[in-house]
Symmetry: C2
Subunit: 616 residues, 2 copies
Amino acid sequence: MGNVDYVYPSANVESSHRVAIPPPQPFVTTLKNSMKETFFPDDPLRQFKNQPTSRKFVLGLQYVLPIFEWGPRYTLEFLKSDLVSGITIASLAIPQGISYAKLANLPPILGLYSSFIPPLVYAMMGSSRDLAVGTVAVASLLTASMLGAEVNATENPTLYLHLAFTATFFAGVFQALLGLLRLGFIVDFLSHATIVGFMAGAATVVCLQQLKGILGLEHFTRGTDIISVMRSVFGQTHKWRWESGVLGCCFLFFLLVTRYFSQRKPKFFWISAMAPLTSVILGSVLVYITHAEKHGVQVIGELKKGFQDRSHHRRDSSRRRNSSRRSFSMFKNYHIDGNKEMIAFGMMNIAGSCTSCYLTTGPFSRSAVNYNAGCKTAVSNIVMAIAVMFTLLFLTPLFHYTPLVVLSAIIIAAMLGLINYQEAIHLWKVDKFDFVVCMSAYIGVVFGSVEIGLVLAVAISVMRVLLFVARPKTFTLGNVPNSMAYRNTEQYTNASNVPGILILEIDAPIYFANSNYLRERIKRWIDEEEDRKNLQGKVACNMSYSIWPLLGAQALALANPGSEVMKKMNKSELIEKIGQEWIFLTVGEAVGACNFMLHTTKPDLVKEEQGTWNNV
Amino acid sequence: MGNVDYVYPSANVESSHRVAIPPPQPFVTTLKNSMKETFFPDDPLRQFKNQPTSRKFVLGLQYVLPIFEWGPRYTLEFLKSDLVSGITIASLAIPQGISYAKLANLPPILGLYSSFIPPLVYAMMGSSRDLAVGTVAVASLLTASMLGAEVNATENPTLYLHLAFTATFFAGVFQALLGLLRLGFIVDFLSHATIVGFMAGAATVVCLQQLKGILGLEHFTRGTDIISVMRSVFGQTHKWRWESGVLGCCFLFFLLVTRYFSQRKPKFFWISAMAPLTSVILGSVLVYITHAEKHGVQVIGELKKGFQDRSHHRRDSSRRRNSSRRSFSMFKNYHIDGNKEMIAFGMMNIAGSCTSCYLTTGPFSRSAVNYNAGCKTAVSNIVMAIAVMFTLLFLTPLFHYTPLVVLSAIIIAAMLGLINYQEAIHLWKVDKFDFVVCMSAYIGVVFGSVEIGLVLAVAISVMRVLLFVARPKTFTLGNVPNSMAYRNTEQYTNASNVPGILILEIDAPIYFANSNYLRERIKRWIDEEEDRKNLQGKVACNMSYSIWPLLGAQALALANPGSEVMKKMNKSELIEKIGQEWIFLTVGEAVGACNFMLHTTKPDLVKEEQGTWNNV
C-alpha cells in the first residue's frame, strides 16, 4: 500500500495489486484436502511420513498402544510417583465405585469390578497420562433412569443386570466407531455453557436422589425431577429417621471440610482424597459397634450378590471426558488425539462389558486427584486396578456394615463439586446469552428429567450454531485516524466515515444459509445510508466469501475477496460482470478508486451493477 | 499505516493505533439489537418512525393489506396489462388445476376452486406483483402420498376429501405462524443444491406416475419409487392401450414444441401459455367426435362430484415460493418481506380450506408466464379468479370428454421444465460437493420416496451448515510484493512468507463448535513450521473473534481482533494476560513488532503465552 496514495491516480497501479484467483486444482485434490481437514485436522499420521517400513511398524504399534512408546522410557522414579497417585485414586475409587453402582441400581460390587479391568485396558491404549478411569455419577444416574424405564431392578435384577452389560457393550462399540470414523468432533457441538448447565442439573438431581439415603426413607419416587422428589420427601415426614440424618450430615460436613482444606492448601490434596475411604471405615466401625443397622441405619450387607456377564447408554459424558483430557494435557503440554481416545474408551467398555463392569469413563474429579498426586504415566491406573483387586479378594466382608448414608454423603460431596456456580457467574459476566443457555439446560434437567435436559442442551447448542451461521455480523467501516486502516465504526468510535461511500464488512464466510439474510441486510444498510442523504452512489464491500446484486447502489467495489469467492466468481463468470477493475486488494484502494470516480464522473454515468448470484 | 514503517520503531507509535475495546452496552440494548437482527433483519417498521398517528394508521393498513398501497395509484393502463396477463394465466390455471387435482387423488373440480378464492386473498395481502397463485404438482403429489398412507381415496373419498381440507387448513396456520413469529428464515437452511435435486426428483416421480395415464393402465402401484413404477409398468405390458399412448405422445410433443418455440422467442410467450388449454379443447373435441372413450381412452367424466368443506401438509415448497418471489422482485427492483408473504400464503390457505380448496402456493412456472405477459399488479390474479369463476359457472360440462391422457401430457410437460439439468451441470462446474448434495436429494426422491428425499435434503443441508461452522478455513499469510498487505499464500502465489514468523488467518468467527478444531489446527500449523525449522518463536494471528493458548509457540501477537473478541477478552481479563502491547491494529504492525523482537532479544527471553480460554 506504501506507494498507493489515498487519491486514486490511475488504473495501472492497481493492476499490480490485482486480487489473485487461486490456481485451479483437480477435484480429487480438493476433495482429499477437505476430507483431511474434516476428519484429520491434527494430521495424526504425519510422523509416519518418509520413514522406513520397520520404523513405520514400530510407530504404528506405538500409535495403537501408547504403552510401547512410554514403556521403554519408564524409570523407578516414575514408578514411585505412580504408586503414590495410584493408591490415592484407589482410595477414592473404592467408596465412589460402590456409591455410584448403588446410584445405578446395580450390585455395589460392580463398582469395584469396573475399577479393575477398564483401567488396565486404558493403561495400554490411552494417551493421557493423568486420566483416572472409573464410573461416574451422571452416567450411573442415566443408566438407572433409562434401564429403569424398561425393567424394574428390584423385581427382575438378572434381566436388569444383563441389560446394563449390553448397554455398556454397545456404548463401547459406539464410542470405538465414532473414534474410528473420526467423528469425535460431533461432541464439539455441545457448547461449554450447555455442559456447565447440564452437569450442574445432573448433579442437583443426583443430590436430590440422595435424600432417600440421608433421611433413611424406604419408599421413594421413581421420578428424578425436583417436584416429584420434594413431594415424596415432604409427603412422608413421619418416616424420616433422625439417626440416619445426623450420621449423613456429619459425614457430609467432614467431607466438605476436608475438601475445602485441600483446595486451600493443594499440597494436602491427599486429605480430601482419603476422606471418602476414611468415612466408609469410620461409618462401618461405628455401625458394627453400635449395631445401628437395627435402629434404622441401612447398611450395604452382603457385597457379593449374584450376577455374571453384559447393554445402550448415552454419550453425553464424552464431551466432558474430552474436556478433562484436554485440560490436563494442556498443563503438561502434550498432544491428545480425541478420536484415538474415543477408541481407547470404546475398547475399555467393550472389554468391561464382558467382565461384569458397567459404563466407565475418565471422571474429571478423580483425574484431578491423580494429577495433583503427581502421577507420571498411566501406570497409576494399573496400581489402582491392583489395589482394587486386593480389596475385592480380601476386604469385601469389611463393607458389610458400611451404612448407605455414608455412600449418600460421598455422592453428595462429589456432586457439589460439579455444580460450577463460579462458571455460571463468569458466563453471566461475559455472555448473557450463554448464561441463558446454561440455565435452560439446568432447569430442563432439574424440573424435567435428565433426558429432557440432554435433548434441550443438544437442541439449544445446534440451534445456536445454526443461528450463528444464519445471522453473521455486518458493520460499516471507517478510517482510523492517522492510518490507512479501515475498521468497524462501532468498535473504533474515533474511526470516521468516508463521505459518499458506504464501506461494509461481513464478519463471516457467506453460505447458502445466510446469503438471503445478507442480501436483505445490505439492502437495509444502503436504504439507511440513503435516508441520511449520505450515499452518492458507491459501496465498497470488504467481504471474504461472495457477492450478490446490490439493489439501488450505483456501483459496487469489492475489497479483498477470499479465494473461495474468487474461484466461484471466476467459474460463474461474475468477475467479468463486476469488472476486474472493481475488485481491490485492500479497502484503502477501493475507497481511493470510488473517491476518484465520485469526483470525476457524473452520477448518471456511474455503471450500475445488477446480477443474480443464487448459487452460494 | 502510512507513517508506520516496516521495521517497528518504538512502543509509542503503536499506542496511537491501539485496538479499541467496543464501548460497553447495557444487556437490554444488546439483547434488543440481537433480537432485531435475528427476527427483523430488514427492519420492516422503519417507515413508521417519526410519523403522526393518522399516518401510522394508514401505513399500518397498507402494510397489512398492500392493496391499499397500490390500489389508489391504479390506472387504466395497468388494467389493460393485467387483463392480458390474467387471462393468460387463467388459460394455464384451468388445465393445470384439473391435472394437479387428479394427481392429488382429489375431484378435478377442486383444482378450479383452488384457483378462485386463494388468488383473491393473495391479491389483497400479497406484496409480489408477479406471483400467480395456484396449486403445484409437488405439493399435490405429497398430498396424495401422505394422505394416501392413511386413507384410500377410492374407497373412502369423503374422509379423504375432509383430510385434504384439514391438511390445507393446518398448512395455512403453520405458514401464518412462521410468518408472524418471523421464522421464515428457517427455509434458508435448505441449500439451493438440495432444492434443485429435490425438485428434479419430485418432477421425475410425478412424470413416472403419469405413465399410468399415458399407457391407459387401470391398476397401478401405490409406490412412487422408480423401481415399483417400472415393475408395475412392465409387469402388465399386455394391458397397454396404444390409442391412449399415441394420443399422449402427440400432445406431449405439441406442448414441448410450443414451449421450445416460446423460449426461443419470448415475445410469443402466449403460444406456450395457451398450449395446455388448446390441448384440452382439441383432445375433448377429438374424443367427442371419435367416441374414443369407448376405445380405451379414459375421460374425466362428470366434473361436479360430491364434496363440500376442510387438512396437514409439508412446507417444502415454501423455499421455492420464496425463491420465485425473490427472483422476480429482483428484476423489478422492489422489496419483498418473506415473513409477510408467509402470512399472506397462510391466510390464503386458511381461507381456501374453508371454501373447498386444497393447498395453493405461487408456482414458479405460472408466475414466470404472468411476468412475461406483462402483469403490473396483483389484479392479474383477480382477473384469473374471475375467468376461472366463469369456467366454473358455464364451461364445466365441456370437460366431460377431456381425455385423462391430455392431463398427463400437460403434467409431464410442466414437470420436465422443473428438471433443471443446466443448474446441475453448473453445480458440477462451480462446486462438486454441491453437485453431490443435489444428486443425493434427487436419488433419495426417485429411488426412495418424496418423504425420504425431503428428510435427506434437510439433513444434508443442516449437516453442511454444521460442517461449515466446525471446520473454518485457516491459512498462512504472506506479504504481497510492493505492498503492505498480507494475504493468503495459497491464493496469492506471489506473496512471500516473513522468515521466522508464522502469520495465520482464520476465515470465520470462532464459536464453541470450532474452537477445539482451531486450537488443534493452529498447533499443527506451528508443528509444521517447526519441522521446516522456520519458526523462531513468533506467531502473528489475524483473527476476528477469539484467542486461545498456542502451545509451543514462544510469543503470540494478535492483529485486528474483532469487537466481540475484544469484549470477551476484556471481560475475562485476557488482555492483560496477553499484554495490550501484543494486540495490533494491522498485520503489518504485528509483523513489524515481531521482527523487532526477533532481532533485538534472545529467544529465551521472549515471553511465553500460556492460558486457557475455554469459554467461547
